[in-house]
């Protein structure tokens, strides 16, 4: 079964460093320097304080499935979901290299990078 091709993320000057790190195999999570809290999705201003004091911290790459759904009507089918990372934030992803029928809420998953159209590597997850 061929997997769904992930489209290239739209270019955005605010996100370039994030995507460059992905291409080097690192998922960098934004953390507010004022509060020490992680947030998602990446942005240059903290959504907790609106200050520019934001740092990027490499994710451990582990977490569990918060929820998911398999698009049964698309060809090829694909599994979309939200993963709750061990760092405490929840991000959207695709589950890859797995039997979609084996997915479950609460399942432990780990980070893998998948090449999107045009070559950009994007974070996806697979059962740990």
């Amino acid at each position: 079964m061929s997997a769904r091709m992930i489209p290239a993320p739209p270019a955005n000057v605010e996100h370039q460093e994030f995507w460059d790190a992905c291409n080097e195999g690192r998922l960098m999570l934004p953390r507010c320097g004022d509060t020490g809290r992680f947030f998602w999705y990446p942005r240059k201003l903290s959504p907790f304080t609106l200050s520019g004091n934001v740092e990027a911290v490499e994710a451990a790459g582990t977490g569990e499935i918060y929820t998911y759904s398999v698009m049964r009507r698309s060809d090829p089918q694909y599994a979309i979901g939200y993963v709750r990372l061990d760092e405490g934030i929840t991000m959207m992803t695709n589950f890859v290299d797995c039997d979609f029928d084996s997915l479950a809420v609460g399942m432990k998953v780990r980070l893998v990078f998948v090449e999107a159209e045009g070559g950009q590597k994007v974070p996806c997850f697979t059962p740990a």
């Binding site: 769904r4 992930i6 489209p7 290239a8 993320p9 739209p10 270019a11 955005n12 605010e14 996100h15 992680f38 947030f39 998602w40 999705y41 990446p42 942005r43 959504p47 907790f48 918060y66 929820t67 998911y68 759904s69 398999v70 698009m71 049964r72 009507r73 698309s74 694909y78 979309i80 979901g81 939200y82 405490g88 934030i89 929840t90 991000m91 959207m92 992803t93 695709n94 809420v105 609460g106 999107a116 994007v122």
Partner: protein
């Protein structure tokens, strides 16, 4: 400043078309507007405020005010929070009227996604490349249906909600739609029919989804002195609330909606509680939309929505909370994929005793209309309005 009793809905119109290949979007807006003004006994010259949302063509109010020949507009609002916009507009119109900014506010909605062959539910949904969240979600293929499916999955996980319980919501809508000659789906369905319909994005089946339809609608909100001058039954605006709900900086929670905040605002302003409501129009893009909204509005405890909707509890005449007696988005129509406006219309019909006799709620004194826009739990607008009879 509260707006309780300071504005009335004087006229409504629902476009009968469910497929409108031979009409433009602007034309559908204007035909709906004409219907609502005729119903109220008002003319375009009486209109001094115009509200629309993202379905309006061109520059929204600027384009439509010209098309419809509105000459006396001095107040405009194009707040676009998806399908919840039009319920929100009730509140904004009431506030503007209470503040003396206008006396006759016209609100319209129209579109033709069916004629234009939009893959409304299953095509990945891009809010625009400049939207800051899009690069981190759109690439993974979020569609309308799988976003709502993920909410349903999580609700099932946390509260034990079942597909059969969700199916009861469609069953109730179908019981009502059989009496609506314009409804797209008039066959009464069973729980088995719903759970055995094709899986679209698990756990949501085809019959958990609303219809895709063309059409539109309009209503007119007026000041008390205008309502007094009209012969038509007017419906009093008692309370309104609105709230956004989003990704919460990564603390995603798909088990509740912005109704958790919009509902209490509306109930407090109206001075009533969920137990007082005789009829509820609840936005029903999917069965799960209704279930979470009913919980968040306080019609039942959080997590108990599955039990609440079961066994026909939403069916007029037999259930405790008759809902969407026109068949709603699940069976009748969902013009331009935005069901908020039609929610207001059926609430007004109920309060005027003008719903179909088979679904009319006896002695209906208080009605609630709730709109849901965007995507459930992640980037959504919630809006609630509570309406009563003119003497409420």
């Amino acid at each position: 400043m509260h707006t309780r009793g300071k504005a009335f809905i004087a006229g409504i119109s629902e476009h009968p078309n469910r497929k409108a290949v031979d009409k433009s979007v602007a034309q559908l807006h204007a035909e709906s507007a004409r219907g609502a003004l005729d119903d109220a006994g008002l003319s375009i010259d009486d209109v001094d405020a115009y509200y629309c949302a993202g379905d309006a063509p061109g520059l929204g109010p600027l384009s439509m005010i010209e098309y419809m020949g509105l000459k006396n507009v001095r107040h405009m609002d194009a707040t676009d929070v998806g399908g919840s916009s039009y319920v929100l507009h009730v509140g904004h119109a009431a506030q503007a009227i209470a503040a003396g900014k206008c006396r006759v506010a016209l609100i319209t909605l129209a579109g033709r996604p069916r004629s234009e062959g939009m893959a409304t539910g299953t095509a990945p949904r891009n809010y625009g490349d400049a939207s800051p969240d899009v690069p981190f979600e759109f690439i993974y293929g979020p569609t309308v249906v799988n976003m709502y499916a993920m909410a349903a999955r999580r609700h099932m996980h946390e509260f034990g909600t079942t597909s059969e319980q969700l199916a009861w919501i469609k069953v109730a809508a179908s019981h009502h739609a059989q009496h609506n000659e314009h409804a797209m789906l008039r066959n009464v369905v069973t729980v088995d029919d719903v759970v055995n319909s094709p899986m679209i994005s698990d756990p949501l089946h085809r019959l958990d989804c609303c219809v895709i339809s063309d059409g539109g609608g309009a209503f007119v909100v007026v000041a008390p002195e205008v309502a007094d001058s009209l012969t038509r039954d007017c419906v009093k605006v008692l309370g309104c609330g609105e709230a956004p709900k989003n990704l919460m900086s990564g603390q995603v929670d798909l088990t509740y909606t912005g109704a958790r905040w919009s509902g209490p605002q509306a109930f407090e302003e109206a001075g009533v509680s969920p137990g007082d409501i005789d009829y509820a129009s609840i936005y029903d893009s999917f069965t799960i939309t209704v279930l979470e909204t009913l919980e968040d509005l306080g019609f039942c405890e959080k997590g108990k929505g599955g039990a609440f909707v079961s066994d026909g509890n939403l069916i007029s005449g037999t259930g405790k909370l008759p809902f969407n007696t026109d068949g709603g988005g699940l069976c009748s129509n969902h013009p331009m994929n935005r069901g908020g406006l039609t929610k207001v219309l059926e609430a007004v019909r109920q309060l005027r005793d003008e719903a179909h006799p088979a679904v009319q709620v006896r002695d209906c004194q208080l009605a609630l209309a709730h709109g849901t826009g965007g995507s459930l739990g992640t980037r959504m607008g919630s809006s609630t309005t509570i309406l009563g009879r003119a003497d409420a």
